[in-house]
Symmetry: C2
Subunit: 123 residues, 2 copies
Amino acid sequence: MPASAVPVNLAEKFAQFSDLWSQKKVAVVNDYEVKLAKLKGEFVWHTHEDTDELFLVVSGRLIIQLRDGDVTLEPGELFVVPRGVEHCPVAEEETAILLLEPAGTMNTGDAGGPMTKAAENLG
Amino acid sequence: MPASAVPVNLAEKFAQFSDLWSQKKVAVVNDYEVKLAKLKGEFVWHTHEDTDELFLVVSGRLIIQLRDGDVTLEPGELFVVPRGVEHCPVAEEETAILLLEPAGTMNTGDAGGPMTKAAENLG
């Protein structure tokens, strides 16, 4: 078995970091990245004009605020924010999520600001 | 909230079907599809020449046979089979998985045969 043929264990990966609002790359599918993040509190309103964005909640509870209402995600639930739709994630308790989007997608989209941070490699 | 702004609950989606080796589309991210499937037994050896393929095990246990060894996935584990790498999934017990790959990717890749089946829409 090649060295790369090792599965990604999500629980193990989440145990490797504790910083909030920082995306950690754990897998690549063609030109898309699977990233993990821990969230608590409110992010910033932003839009990705060029791409949809998938959120899957692994633990906790995520509210994705949209301008016309909220979408609440419990563990085992996913939601795709369509491109061009302004959104703002918020989590009352610490929440662990998996994200999927094209490589290079910035976390704050068009909004920029102090929470802007490129995704990091993780183990 | 628009009618489309409803999360996808994976457990509910899995409860909606019981046929094996039949991919059910539950979400779209740009030109990629998130699909669910239930597996039991052995699939066919095949290759996707043009795309990587992500497997995430939700329940059960999946062995992805590769020509140079096996990768075993427990619940909460994911693995990306690189494009061009021949593989054959096998599950001793019924196993529920999430797949991610470009829309239109056929389940049997280059192999064809009686298990070839286009992904279906699910609720």
